[in-house]
Symmetry: C2
Subunit: 276 residues, 2 copies
C-alpha cells in the first residue's frame, strides 16, 4: 500500500492510499478519513460508496462528511467506484465500465477479469484496512449516493451482521426494473435475471430486509427520479415493517448539494448505531 | 444576468449566475448561496474570495460554508478570480493572468483591458447583487483564501466602512515582499512600487488597520509559508493593537481540507458582526 497524500482535516487526517487489488487485478485508490481519536483507540468505520462517474475523490471533497465524523469519532472510507486503467475494459457510455462498477462481481466478458467491486468492498478492502489502520472492524456502517446507495443497501442486506446501520442518498432503488440497472446487470452478470436478484435493494428488502436501522433521503426534485424508483423501495420498506426512515426532501436534486445538506443527519444516524 | 444553475442546499439555494461585466469587459460567472431566510427578508452578505487557479466553483463545492451560512441566515457570494475568455490576456504560468487576478485594477498592457478585479468586486458585482437579490448591502463582511485572503484583507482596509468584519485563510500577507506578489503587482500595476502599497495587507495594517474585528487562520504545515509570510501580518496586527485573532493551526496545509476545517469558526465570527 502506498500513501498518495495526507491532509490534516478537522483535527484528524484525510488520507488517499493506493494498492494493488487482487479482486480487481489493477491498482485501486481509496480515501480514508481518520478522526483525532484514532491516534489513541480503534475507531468505528462508516463506508461511503459513490455514484456513477465518481472516483474516491468526489465525496471526499464535496460531501462535507469529515467534520461530523470527526465530532463523532468515526472513520470514513471512500472507495473508488470501479477498477481502472489502460488494461481494464471500458465503454463509451458514462454508466457502464470504468466509473460504473455497480458493486457486483462481473461474470461476463469483457468485464469479468477486473469488475469485482462486490468482493473488493466486501472482502479485500476491509482486510487491508483492518491490517493497516487503527479501525474497529466490529463496528461498521455503510452509506452511499445513487449507484453507491444501491451498493450500500445491497451490501448491507447481502452481508447480514456486517453493518450495524445503512443509509442512502437517492439510491438506485430497483435496478432490475430500471434503465439504470438492466443495462449494467445484463452486461456484468448476463441475461439470466435470477443472478440479478441479489443486487436489487427493493427485491432484497421484500425478501429479507435489514437487521438494523435504515435511513433513506431522496430529493423531490431529483432529475433522475424515473431511473431511481424510490417508490419501489419505500413501499417495500413499509410492507416489511423495516425499522427505518424514508424521507422525501422537497426541492432537492441529485447533486452533492443535496448530499452535503443532509450529511449531518446521516453521520448522526450511524453514530447512534456505532458509538451509541 | 443569466442563471446557469440552481441547487437546493441546506434549505436555501446555491445559484450560479453569469453576466456581462463592464469592469472586466467580458462575461463573468459567480456563485450565490441564499439561505432560506432570503425568501422573507433581506439577508446580510459574506463575500468569499478564492485563490490562485480557482473559479467561482471551488469554494462553492469544497469549503463547506453553506450549512453554517444557512444556520446564521447569511448569503454567500463566490466571485471568480479573474476575467476569462478567448479575448482576455493570459500567461502560461498558473499564478499570472486568468485565474490570478490578484484583486487589483491593472494599468499595464496587456492586462489593463480586462483585469479590473478590484472594481469588479468593490463596485460592479455589489451593485448587481443589490439590484437582483434580496440582500441587505448595509451588512457585508468578507473572507478569502490565499490570494483571496489577500483580496479580502486589502478590500476591507481599502474600503473603510464597507465591511463589518474580515477574515482570511492562509492569506498572501505581504505580496510586495514575496514572489507571490512582486511578479503580479509588477505585471498588473507596473514597476512603480508606490502603486502597490494599497494591495499589501501588511503595509495597510501598518498604515491604517481595519475598523472592526479580524480573524486569520494559517496552517502551520502550509507548503507555501515562505510565499505567504504570515509573520509579517501577525506582527503588524499586534503592533497596531488591531482588534482580532491570528491563529496558527498546527499540522494544517494550504488545501480546502484546511479551509473547511475552520469554516464554522469563520462564519460564526462574521455572523457575530452581521447578525449580532
Amino acid at each position: 500500500m502506498q500513501t498518495l497524500s495526507e491532509n490534516r482535516a478537522f483535527g484528524g487526517v484525510q488520507g488517499v492510499h493506493a494498492h494493488r487489488s487482487e479482486s480487481c487485478d489493477c491498482e485501486m485508490t481509496f480515501g480514508l478519513f481518520l478522526p483525532e481519536d484514532a491516534a489513541h483507540v480503534r475507531v468505528p468505520v462508516l463506508w461511503y460508496l459513490s455514484g456513477l462517474t465518481c472516483t474516491h475523490e468526489n465525496a471526499m471533497t464535496k460531501a462535507a462528511a469529515q467534520g461530523w465524523a470527526a465530532e463523532a469519532g468515526i472513520a470514513l472510507v471512500f472507495p473508488d467506484t470501479s477498477p481502472r486503467g489502460a488494461g481494464v475494459a471500458d465503454d463509451d457510455a458514462f454508466d457502464l465500465g470504468q466509473g460504473a462498477g455497480f458493486y457486483v462481481n462481473a461474470t461476463q466478458d469483457p468485464w469479468a477479469a477486473h469488475f469485482r467491486m462486490w468482493e473488493y468492498v466486501a472482502e479485500e478492502l476491509p482486510a487491508l484496512l483492518a491490517a493497516e489502520f487503527p479501525l474497529d472492524m466490529e463496528r461498521q456502517a455503510i452509506c452511499g449516493h445513487s449507484m453507491g446507495g444501491h451498493g450500500a443497501l445491497t451490501l448491507a442486506m447481502g452481508l447480514p451482521g456486517r453493518y450495524r446501520s445503512v443509509s442512502a442518498f437517492a439510491p438506485i432503488a430497483h435496478p432490475t426494473q430500471s434503465d439504470w440497472g438492466r443495462k449494467q446487470l445484463g452486461a456484468y452478470l448476463g441475461a439470466d435475471e435470477a443472478t440479478w436478484a441479489g443486487h436489487d435493494a427493493t427485491l432484497m428488502m421484500r425478501e429479507t430486509g435489514f437487521d438494523g436501522p435504515v435511513l433513506i433521503d431522496q430529493g423531490g426534485a431529483d432529475q433522475f427520479l424515473e431511473l431511481l424508483q424510490p417508490e419501489a423501495l419505500a413501499g417495500a420498506m413499509a410492507a416489511r415493517r423495516q425499522e427505518g426512515v424514508f424521507r422525501m426532501q422537497k426541492g432537492y436534486d441529485h447533486s452533492y448539494f443535496f448530499v452535503s445538506s443532509f450529511m449531518e443527519d446521516h453521520v448522526s444516524f450511524h453514530a447512534e448505531a456505532l458509538v451509541g
